[in-house]
């Protein structure tokens, strides 16, 4: 009988992604209801040191495979390692993040394990001893409840939805052999080219400050960057600003740029053309700063400031600084 609520933890360069803690806390909750243990799979190279950290979020057992072939992440190596362990230990539930890496891994894994999975879930609970997952359908117009009839019951959880709740366990760290044969691995990572020095990618950012045509020129983005630095945000731009050559294309938010969904989106000097709204309309809170009271962005914004952004943005930076001090 399958037993245990497991997660696949995500780490990059020896540091956990936030989703790992969200997964761990959620697994803890489910495991408590079932009266089972929480297991976590941690893969990588030189990661032994961080294994214990997962206990803080309620993990009982951390299965780690410390192997050069597992760093950096490749789909085939990670899928093979997780599948091997899961087949052996037979957990009842397996949770992954619906992050870029988690989406990639879960698809391969679900095939290897020949089981079912609910993707991009916003809630999971135990009903009649089984995992019931809630996932948005039709672009969020309704929710579907998914129950998987095979084991392990897999689900990928949408990042930034589940709370990371602190706990205080000292997990048991168990090393396992990922059983990797270098000859069998089809993917080799030759080189990693990192984008933006240390900045969070737009699609993963919690807060985004964007500037549009109203910025009037590339030099004025300084005030946007200052605000972003203070509140820990990533800087985005509208198509108008990108087309004008003020910002690089990778910063573009919108239909033909990045589709983002941060908790807070601050739009400065962006009118809110439909192509832009299509890329950020699902943000949790939208703040718009624009001189034009008729700008369509205000129809979508939770908070709107009708004023000159060159006056408001530095003021905002100053106030936040004060608040944080």
């Amino acid at each position: 009988m399958a037993k245990g609520v497991w997660i696949v933890a995500e780490q990059r360069y020896g540091a956990y992604r936030k989703i790992s803690f969200e997964l761990a806390s959620t697994a803890r909750k489910l495991a408590d209801q079932l009266g089972e243990e929480v297991g976590a799979v941690l893969l990588g190279s030189g990661i032994e040191g961080i294994a214990g950290e997962l206990g803080k979020y309620g993990v009982d057992k951390v299965y780690i495979a410390d192997n050069a072939l597992l760093e950096p992440y490749t789909t085939d190596a990670h899928a093979a390692a997780v599948a091997r362990l899961v087949k052996e230990k037979d957990p009842s539930i397996l949770l992954l993040g619906a992050s870029v890496q988690g989406k990639d891994l879960s698809a391969r894994l679900v095939g290897k394990l020949a089981t079912g999975m609910a993707t991009d879930c916003v809630d999971v609970k135990i009903v009649d001893g089984k995992l019931l997952a809630l996932r948005p359908m039709y672009a969020g117009k309704c929710y579907g409840e998914v129950v998987t009839s095979s084991f392990p019951q897999m689900a990928s959880l949408r990042p930034n939805v589940f709370p990371a709740v602190e706990n205080s366990k000292t997990p048991e760290v168990i090393k396992f052999d990922p059983g990797l044969d270098p000859g069998q691995l089809k993917t080799k990572v030759l080189e990693v080219q990192k984008d933006t020095a240390g900045k969070v990618d737009l699609t993963e950012a919690n807060i985004i400050v964007s500037g549009g045509r109203g910025m009037k020129g590339p030099e004025n983005y300084v005030i946007i960057e200052e605000l972003a630095d203070v509140i820990g945000a990533t800087v985005g731009a509208s198509r108008a600003a990108v087309d004008a050559g003020w910002r690089p294309q990778k910063d573009q938010v919108g239909q033909t740029g990045k589709v983002v969904s941060p908790n807070l989106y601050i739009a400065c000097g962006i009118s809110g053309a439909i192509q832009h709204l299509a890329g950020m309309g699902t943000s949790k809170y939208i703040v718009a700063i624009n001189k034009d009271p008729d700008a369509p962005i205000f129809a979508r914004a939770d908070y709107g400031i009708v004023d000159d952004l060159f006056k408001i943005v530095p003021e905002l930076t100053k106030e936040v600084k004060k608040l944080l001090a």
């Binding site: 239909q255 033909t256 192509q275 299509a278 309309g281």
Partner: protein, 651 residues
């Protein structure tokens, strides 16, 4: 003539010896065909036979290539219409004349060279038929007029050749190249030099003949006559010898020209008129739907064989004139795509692939029946390697290339077919496009806005949906932009107000309306576009819709031309047609003056696709106080905004 007659008399006497041999005299003007080349006739026939054989062999080889690859397609229906196209565009070159200077240049060469060939045929008829029968016609006034015209036409051809040389090698317009680099090949120069030297040597021969025989009437052959003065002082023996040499040079070049045709750009003499004959008779921009979704294993055109024979043949009708490139929005905005290069790349690939297929078919034929040809697998993929993917996705489907191609080449359907392969077979396309497709699938609009919000623009405007009242004359199909985009919504509301004011009976579909499918179709997602179209058709047919008005040119074009493929047959109008009609019939009058200077930017899908140029202008002209001006690129030369062909949804 007066002057010529007087001064020529002594010379006439001087050359009496030569003229005594001739049966021609003043009053019976003419010339001896094969003068000074009497014994060359046999050789000439032999050489002509060789030239024709080389020509025929080349054409046969080419024919094999045209028929080696490609899927079937009917292009010999409606012969009457096709003959008309052949006559208008092949012989009269109406499409070539659309661009005046190069049109005239080409006309000077084509028409008059063509006539000169007939002139030579006249000579041959005189010599081989008329004279032996005792009814020579190349005499007297007819001969003089004939001579004069032939001189004139020869001169025209020469002028045309010089214009072409000047254009190609001195003025070098961008269209005769790619990204500022001329794409001239030796063939271009050879062709022009061949034509030029046929004419020049012809004149020289004539001049030498006139110099020796010097009949007074040859002043009508004004070029040869003038040129003959250059030989003054050359004795008759030398002149006759020179004449023989030049005669052979002239003849060799002319025969070489014939033999050269199938191996050079001159092939367009055959392929281009043929392409006009086989031009699409479907409405502009028509895309043939994929019908076999259930059974097909591959969609669209990934390899050359996936194109139809006609689509492949197209590439051989291209002369690299570059008119397509001149107005291509992708090319002009610095993208890699040039419609000319695209067609030429297909052609180069055809010339690479077809011989292998021909050889394989031959081998299979030898191996006996049943053994199908083992056509070697292509070494490179057409879509991706022959045609760069950046080029493929840069096209906006604006139709400039097809509208202005003087060879009736159909670029756009090929591009869409290749996109279909990338999207439907390989599922390899831009992520932005994937987002758009998904939005269309989920919410039937490209932005992914909830489809239940589709008719919110019409709230409080007193517009009824067909569900509320299906008994209306027109369906106003609003479209995605008109339903969701802030500017578009204003257009929808304004147009609805116009209809209401004019008392037109109309309704909308409300939330039952879906995306028209144009972007999905032109973005290569034929499956999605058919799904969208069929959904709309079910709804519209359910209400018994007969007449539709669209504001968006893309929806208009799609409903008008794509929907009939799937059982959606409606009278489709653009709102400019309706408004124009309402103004003309006095149903609405424009009273409020509008100040300022305005211009009208022709939409590709209205203008080039549907020939709607006048109605928007007439409407604007009836606005009181409005000053109108035209932009440089207008009407069928209008410059694409860049959003067509699903480019709106790509970066």
């Amino acid at each position: 003539m007066k002057q010529g007659g007087g001064s020529n008399a002594p010379i006439f006497l001087k050359n009496r010896c030569a003229m005594e041999l001739s049966k021609f005299s003043v009053g019976n003007e003419g010339r001896e065909v094969f003068w000074n080349a009497e014994n060359f006739e046999g050789l000439l026939f032999a050489f002509t036979a060789v030239a024709l054989a080389i020509f025929a062999y080349g054409l046969y080889k080419r024919w094999q290539m045209w028929t080696a690859l490609g899927k079937p397609e009917v292009r010999n229906d409606n012969i009457q219409e096709r003959i008309k196209l052949f006559f208008l565009n092949g012989l009269l070159q109406m499409k070539t004349f659309k661009d005046v200077y190069p049109g005239v240049m080409h006309g000077l060469i084509f028409f008059w060279f063509f006539v000169l060939i007939f002139g030579a045929a006249f000579d041959a008829t005189e010599f081989h038929i008329a004279e032996p029968l005792g009814v020579p016609f190349m005499t007297g006034k007819f001969y003089l007029v004939f001579s004069f015209l032939m001189e004139l036409f020869g001169l025209f051809v020469l002028i045309g050749v010089f214009m072409a040389l000047d254009r190609r090698y001195i003025r070098k317009p961008d269209r005769l190249g790619y990204k500022g680099e001329a794409d001239n090949t030796p063939d271009d120069a050879i062709t022009l030099l061949l034509i030029g030297s046929i004419i020049i040597t012809g004149f020289v021969i004539e001049a030498l003949r006139i110099h020796v025989t010097n009949p007074p009437w040859e002043v009508w052959s004004f070029v040869g006559y003038t040129l003959s003065k250059a030989f003054a002082g050359v004795d008759n023996g030398t002149a006759e010898m020179l004449h023989k040499v030049m005669w052979w040079i002239h003849t060799s070049i002319a025969l070489g020209f014939i033999a050269y045709i199938p191996y050079s750009r001159l092939l367009h003499i055959i392929t281009t008129p043929a392409n006009h004959f086989m031009a699409s008779l479907k409405p502009a921009g028509n895309l043939e739907p994929i019908r076999d979704f259930e059974t097909a294993e591959s969609f669209g055109a990934g390899q050359l064989e996936d194109l139809t024979w006609k689509q492949i043949f197209d590439s051989d009708a291209c002369t690299r004139c570059g008119r397509c490139q001149d107005g291509c929005p992708a090319y002009l905005s610095g993208k890699q795509l040039s419609p000319k290069k695209f067609i030429q790349d297909v052609k180069t690939y055809l010339l690479e692939r077809a011989p292998l297929t021909v050889a394989a078919k031959k081998a299979a034929g030898k191996a006996g029946e049943g053994a199908g040809p083992e056509i070697p697998a292509p070494e490179k993929t057409m879509v991706g390697e022959v045609i760069d993917l950046h080029e493929l996705w840069a096209c906006t489907n604006c139709m400039y290339c097809m509208e202005h191609c003087p060879a009736s080449i159909e670029h756009v359907p090929k591009i869409v077919n290749m996109r279909q392969y990338k999207v439907l077979t390989e599922a390899d396309f831009a992520s932005e496009l994937q987002l758009t497709f998904r939005n269309m699938e989920n919410n039937s609009n490209p932005w992914g806005i909830g489809s239940h919000l589709r008719s919110d623009w019409a709230k409080d405007l007193g517009i009824k949906t067909l569900a509320e009242d299906p008994d209306v004359e027109y369906l106003f199909y609003v479209g995605c932009a008109g339903s969701f985009d802030d500017r578009g919504k204003k257009v929808s509301a304004a147009f609805a107000k116009i209809l209401q004011t004019a008392g037109v009976s109309f309704g909308i579909l409300g939330t039952e309306e879906g995306c028209c499918g144009d972007s999905a179709m032109r973005g290569g997602n034929e499956y999605l576009s058919q799904t969208l179209m069929q959904t709309n058709i079910e709804v519209m047919n359910g209400y018994g819709v007969k007449k539709i008005i669209c504001t968006c040119p893309h929806g208009y074009n799609s409903l008008k031309k794509d929907y009939p493929h799937f059982g959606g047959n409606y009278e489709v109008y653009h709102h400019t047609e309706i408004i124009d009609h309402l103004i003309a019939t006095g149903k609405i009058t424009l009273k409020k003056p509008v100040d300022g200077l305005f211009t009208y930017h022709d939409s590709c899908f209205l203008g080039r696709y549907n020939n709607i140029y006048d109605q928007p202008r007439t409407i604007l002209a009836s606005v009181p106080g409005m000053k109108l001006t035209e932009m440089e690129r207008k009407l069928d030369k209008s410059f694409c905004c860049g959003a067509g062909g699903a480019r709106m949804w790509m970066e």
